[in-house]
């Protein structure tokens, strides 16, 4: 037993995979033995220096870590308040933070002797990252993607195919990320003997929320050390966009026990919180879906509602259970920004810093745009630039009335 510090926010989940009332293992019996195996194997891997060495080596030489910590001078000047810094995870191989987690999970899969990989994807970023690590290690890969998303994310579909993955368009439900996750779980339950499911965000049944968080925490560990080295102090405010919440928990977790560091998670308010949106903390309530208890967009009967966001990566009606817990205990603040605000922020960063952000971190930038002017100039805001925007130029062009 490790000694639990009752004042720490970094000791969750408990031994049953719960973050307070959230998290857990709400899966069909067929999957339970596998989930328990995965937990045992993850515990062993965590204690194994060889596992960490291989993970660190791949992150450095294959992914390109550490990612830079960047002070954004022109954006700071334009906003006229706090200093704005970015953690540049959009410079990773494959263009987003997703690859950090995929490297960790495929090493676990091979450790468990699994020979086939499946994953779900919404925008295609996690699908591309999964297909990438499968190509790197020579494992067959099946990506489930809603048929609607397949249509609107053709470049990523082609990338996955180039990388050797089979992309299965999912025709059920609204044919988006939630349905892709359902179909991936159906595949998994039928192929538990040889198949490993690389879940793309810090959600799903225990131990996924914990292990995805741990793999993504490289973001926050690097940022904390880089900030101390560059400025001699910690940032005052961390900001990150939240769909399932893996980039945010990866940035936040290493800072949770630093009491001077405030944190802000930014959900997708879509057309507005009174219309279609994907802000499960702001507009949902606790429920059970996809193996965990967390905040969900749902009706009075507990039927799950479809999320909407201009960002396909945030378009999910749930959120990782650790965020649900951090909201309830008040350690992290959560807000939301609309599609239009995210589009404005997207253009602002292009214009002021020469960086084309993905629509997901554009939500974080939109929140920074609101907050920075209200804070003194010696305040430091650190936002996670978790993905680059190449994949989004068609969507943005469409919204700006430009035909490519």
């Amino acid at each position: 037993m490790t000694v639990q510090n009752p004042n720490s926010y970094r000791t969750q989940p408990d031994e049953r995979g719960h973050f307070g009332q959230f998290g857990g293992r709400y899966v069909a019996e067929t999957l339970m033995p596998l989930i328990l195996d995965l937990e045992r194997e993850y515990r062993a891997a965590k204690e194994d220096p060889a596992f960490h060495a291989e993970f660190d080596d791949l992150l450095e030489h294959y992914v390109g870590r550490p990612s830079p910590l960047y002070f954004a001078p022109r954006l700071t000047e334009e906003l006229g308040g706090a200093q704005v810094w970015f953690k540049r995870d959009e410079l990773n191989h494959t263009g987003a933070h997703k690859i950090n987690n995929c490297v960790g999970q495929i090493l676990l899969a091979m450790r468990m002797g699994k020979t086939r990989i499946i994953a779900e994807t919404g925008a295609g970023q996690h699908g591309v990252a999964t297909a990438t690590v499968c190509a790197r290690f020579g494992l067959p890969c099946v990506i489930y993607m809603g048929a609607t998303d397949v249509e609107r994310q053709q470049p990523n579909v082609f990338r996955m195919k180039l990388l050797g993955a089979e992309v299965v368009p999912v025709q059920s439900g609204a044919k988006t990320l939630k349905d892709a996750m359902n179909e991936a779980m159906r595949d998994w339950v039928a192929n538990v003997h040889d198949t490993f499911y690389i879940i793309g965000t810090a959600a799903g049944p225990h131990p996924y929320p914990e292990l995805v968080r741990d793999f993504q925490s490289v973001i926050g560990r690097e940022a904390r050390a880089q900030m101390l080295s560059r400025t001699g102090r910690l940032p005052d405010l961390l900001v990150a966009a939240i769909g399932g919440g893996s980039n945010a928990i990866g940035l936040f977790h290493p800072f949770l026990d630093d009491p001077t560091v405030r944190m802000l998670g930014v959900e997708a308010a879509g057309y507005g919180l009174d219309k279609d949106h994907a802000a499960s903390l702001a507009g949902g309530r606790p429920g059970i879906l996809h193996g965990n208890k967390t905040y969900l967009l749902q009706d009075d009967d507990g039927q799950i509602l479809e999320g909407h966001s201009i960002s396909a990566g945030l378009d999910y009606p749930g959120i990782g259970p650790e965020h649900a817990w951090l909201k309830e205990n008040g350690r992290v603040d959560y807000t939301s920004v609309t599609d239009d605000e995210a589009l404005d922020a997207f253009q602002l960063l292009c214009r002021t810093e020469g960086i084309i952000p993905a629509l997901e971190p554009s939500h974080a930038i939109a929140a920074v745009k609101k907050i920075a002017p209200t804070l003194p100039k010696d305040t430091i805001i650190l936002a996670n630039l978790c993905g680059r925007g190449d994949k989004d130029i068609f969507t943005v062009a469409g919204h700006l009335g430009v035909t490519l």
Binding site: T30, D300, Q303
Partner: protein
């Protein structure tokens, strides 16, 4: 165990357990389909609670869930269908089968009270393994409702006692690692699994997933206490809609003949 379920497994022959989705194709059509299950010879009724995200179900039952929700089926309709069934059929056990979220969304105590008041005998919840029993188990058991758990080919001997602890009514053996309605398991593997489970289980063991025809059901009934048929019935509802009752009755009658007299030539 509920008295009705006890009686259903004490008839001197294996039990035929039949599944339909509540509200498919409409809430108004379900009572006649349930009556057809009883008329055909079903011993236990499983009434599916439709859910937007039926992760353990194959295409047939997924589509049934969407048809039911598309027809506006609410939890209140499902409970009313159950209560009306109980008024018409005092002795036929009725089990609700579904996913956790609709069961807990108003608080599990609300759900347990409502199910008990509707005359429901037990509940099967696909995504509540023994590890999360606290979510619904105590509330159901305290109202005399059976929590019916599932065992699968991946439930090994070491894990089986955990699955049985807190289970009552019967044990539902999922004969294939997979989703409903797709592939079927070899009879020898089912026979071995049921024999292994019955060394530990004090409960009746019924076998389901992938059982569609009298030819499949009869031999399984020889090695188990009951057989579940779902997707094949749901397919008839899909094909015949509001007129499904008679074709459903005819299929269930054939299944019942095979299950109730498992040694018969028809099987």
């Amino acid at each position: 165990m509920s008295a009705r379920l006890s009686a259903a497994f004490a008839k001197g022959h294996p039990a035929l357990v039949c599944f339909v989705t509540a509200g498919d194709p409409t809430p108004a059509a379900t009572p006649a389909i349930l009556d057809a299950l009883v008329a055909g010879g079903a011993d236990v009724i499983e009434l599916g609670m439709p859910f937007t995200d039926p992760m353990a179900d194959g295409p047939a039952i997924q589509a049934a869930n969407l048809r039911a929700l598309g027809a506006g089926t609410k939890t209140a309709d499902i409970l009313a269908i159950a209560a009306d069934f109980r008024a018409r059929h005092a002795d036929v056990p009725l089990v609700l089968m579904g996913y956790a979220n609709p069961m807990i969304t108003r608080g599990v105590d609300w759900f347990a009270d409502a199910a008990a008041a509707a005359g429901v005998d037990g509940v099967i919840c696909v995504d509540i393994p023994p590890e999360e029993d606290a979510e619904i188990g105590p509330a159901l058991r305290s109202r005399g409702l059976d929590l019916i758990r599932l065992a699968t080919p991946t439930t090994d001997a070491a894990r089986l006692p955990a699955v049985l602890d807190g289970s009552s009514g019967f044990l539902y053996y999922v004969s294939v690692a997979g989703i409903t309605g797709k592939q079927s398991a070899a009879l020898t593997s089912i026979e071995e699994a049921v024999a292994r489970i019955k060394q530990t289980a004090q409960l009746p063991v019924v076998v389901g997933f992938g059982v569609r025809t009298p030819e499949q059901a009869g031999p399984i009934a020889r090695v188990a206490d009951g057989v579940v048929v779902g997707s094949a019935i749901v397919d008839l509802v899909a094909a015949h809609g509001a007129d499904a009752a008679e074709p459903v009755r005819a299929l269930v009658a054939e299944l019942a003949r095979a299950v109730h007299t498992p040694g018969s030539p028809a099987a």
